[in-house]
């Protein structure tokens, strides 16, 4: 297993790509304005959906890209956040000021409980046990008959925000999601370059070395796992509000796999890549499924090709191109 495949994750992106995050967020900010010309809310709701998954992807990049912790159960935290919203709404609690903290608390708690066990393993065992806990969440949700079971639960309306039905307006909701994504990104970027983040990145490169320097790597990884889980819970909260529906399918292992694909597609260990990957995956899905329902027959081999030849994902390709142009 060559360590050469996974490049070290620098705390900051290199060269011309430093402006990338600014460009990304600018683009997102402009979408609803562009949509004013195209009319309707399709573009806006698509944009919201992309950003919602981007939040979960950025959180997963913390784990996979910076921590080398390949979690195959990340979708469970999205689902938990979503179900928090759904279940609370069944009991008449529909304000975000309650359901958001609950969503975050539930996913963080599950991350803590499962992380304590998962992080005692490594390698493929870690992958399998995170998958197992994801499946447990999935099956629990499927068996919750009073909350829809297999079929899922429709939510009457989106959460109010301190009593105001702000989120029911598609454009307002879009900017709330954008704000959450921006906050998530800024937080993770700071985290990665901080003292804490440096330990996690070091543990990815050489965990034995980190132990002999005096770091209890387990504690740092657990904290990262909980943070990533809570952020995915935020994503779930927003997803439930966006679709006004929650279902066990939000937590399936296929969804967890898709999240990993999103992060890899954009470029592991770069945070920007997670956002780009989520956008690329969802937009491709949206576009190609317009042509044929069998678009995954093409997408599957594309993934294989990306793994074989474009290991750094889209960001890797972009930097290679930038370097080539710089050379003239």
């Amino acid at each position: 297993m060559a360590a050469a495949s996974l490049a070290a994750s620098p705390a900051r992106p290199r060269g011309g790509l430093r402006v990338l995050p600014a460009g990304i967020f600018l683009a997102f900010a402009l979408i609803p304005i562009v949509a004013l010309f195209t009319g309707g809310t399709y573009l806006v709701s698509l944009g919201s959906r992309v950003m919602i998954f981007a939040i979960a992807a950025v959180a997963l990049d913390l784990l996979v890209g910076y921590g080398a912790l390949i979690s195959f159960g990340h979708a469970a935290f999205i689902g938990l956040g979503a179900y928090a919203v759904g279940i609370l709404s069944v009991y008449g609690i529909t304000d975000a000021l309650v359901s958001l903290p609950v969503a975050l608390a539930v996913s963080a708690a599950y991350a803590l409980l499962t992380g304590v066990i998962c992080l005692r393993t490594s390698g493929v065992y870690f992958i399998m046990i995170t998958l197992a806990f994801g499946q447990m969440a999935f099956f629990t949700a499927s068996s919750l008959a009073p909350f829809g079971g297999d079929d899922g639960l429709t939510i009457a309306a989106r959460n109010t925000l301190a009593g105001f039905p702000l989120l029911r307006d598609e454009r307002a909701f879009y900017y709330v999601v954008l704000f959450c994504l921006l906050g998530t990104y800024v937080f993770c970027r700071a985290l990665v370059g901080s003292r804490f983040g440096r330990v996690v990145r070091g543990a990815k490169e050489n965990p034995v070395r980190m132990a002999t320097i005096g770091f209890d790597v387990y504690r740092f990884q657990l904290a990262t796992y909980v943070i990533a889980g809570a952020l995915a819970g935020l994503s779930g909260f927003l997803l439930a509000n966006a679709t006004e529906f929650v279902s066990p399918a939000y937590m399936s292992w296929q969804r967890s796999g898709e999240l990993i694909v999103m992060v890899l597609l954009g470029g592991l260990g770069s945070l920007d890549g997670a956002i780009i990957g989520a956008a690329a995956y969802l937009l491709t899905e949206e576009w190609l499924s317009g042509f044929t329902e069998h678009w995954k027959v093409i997408f599957g081999p594309v993934l294989v090709l990306v793994v074989l030849f474009a290991r750094g994902g889209l960001i890797g390709l972009a930097s290679a191109l930038v370097r080539r142009f710089a050379r003239g």
């Binding site: 490049a7 705390a11 700071a190 901080s194 440096r198 002999t212 320097i213």
Partner: protein
């Protein structure tokens, strides 16, 4: 012994039928440089691994500064002041040489659960890190990614990382492994300058270095200490000459 920095009492380790550490009793005094020599396969690296906590002994006790650390995990031992270097360079290749050392400084400084503020820019960490790099002669190469350093520079970096931990005891596992004559001489000079700051256990094959630096030498053969004493005493010991030094000394 009451005032030994490190005391190993009847340490035993076997891998299957192979006994690698055989009822080993050993101590290191404060601020002495204690060399451990012996043929390949004598169990030197396993000994270092047991002291630093990467390998658990089957039996016996390890006392560090009077405290029983036999069951303590590696990172806790490091926190107590036990630093080590590896025979095969074990650094963080994607980080710069400076960051490698700064991480060791960070560990010493505690409070690594800080999630804001750019660690790489912290003068409180970089200052001592640069000092350690200067000690081993790597100050000019501070910003080179550690993976790109030359072999001898990596060995020096290993030493710098250990130094930055401000250890009470430094375990050096063949620091001169694979270095050329110039590099070796440079590392010997560095170690000579650092002697007396703290205790050192030096595992080495290079006899010139060993006899130039050691206050005491222990000879490890088949997991047991055959002889232990001053360099002159060990050199003259007929058992040692017969078992090991005979062909080594020119």
């Amino acid at each position: 012994m009451a005032d030994a920095v490190l005391h190993l009492e009847k340490l035993r380790k076997s891998f299957g039928a192979l006994v690698v550490t055989d009822e080993l009793t050993f101590d290191v005094m404060p601020r002495e440089l204690h060399a451990v020599i012996g043929p390949n396969g004598a169990g030197k690296t396993t000994l270092i691994n047991q002291i630093s906590g990467l390998v658990a002994p089957d039996a016996g006790t390890i006392l560090f500064a009077g405290r029983d650390i036999t069951a303590l995990p590696t990172h806790a031992r490091a926190e107590l002041g036990l630093a080590r270097s590896f025979q095969v360079s074990s650094i963080l290749p994607g980080f710069s040489a400076l960051e490698n050392v700064a991480l060791a400084v960070q560990s010493r400084a505690g409070s690594s659960f800080r999630v804001l503020g750019r660690a790489a820019a912290e003068a409180a960490l970089n200052g001592p890190a640069m000092a350690a790099l200067a000690d081993v002669g790597l100050a000019e190469r501070a910003h080179i990614p550690a993976g790109e350093l030359a072999h001898g520079e990596k060995r020096a970096l290993e030493l710098a990382i250990a130094l930055a931990m401000q250890p009470k005891l430094l375990l050096l596992d063949e620091p001169m492994a694979g270095t050329g004559r110039e590099e070796t001489a440079r590392l010997v000079e560095v170690l000579r300058r650092l002697k007396g700051r703290f205790s050192v256990v030096l595992v080495e094959h290079d006899m010139t270095a060993v006899f130039a630096l050691a206050d005491r030498i222990s000879v490890l053969i088949y997991g047991r200490i055959l002889a232990s004493g001053t360099p002159a005493g060990v050199r003259a010991d007929p058992r040692v000459v017969a078992a090991y030094l005979g062909d080594e000394m020119e």
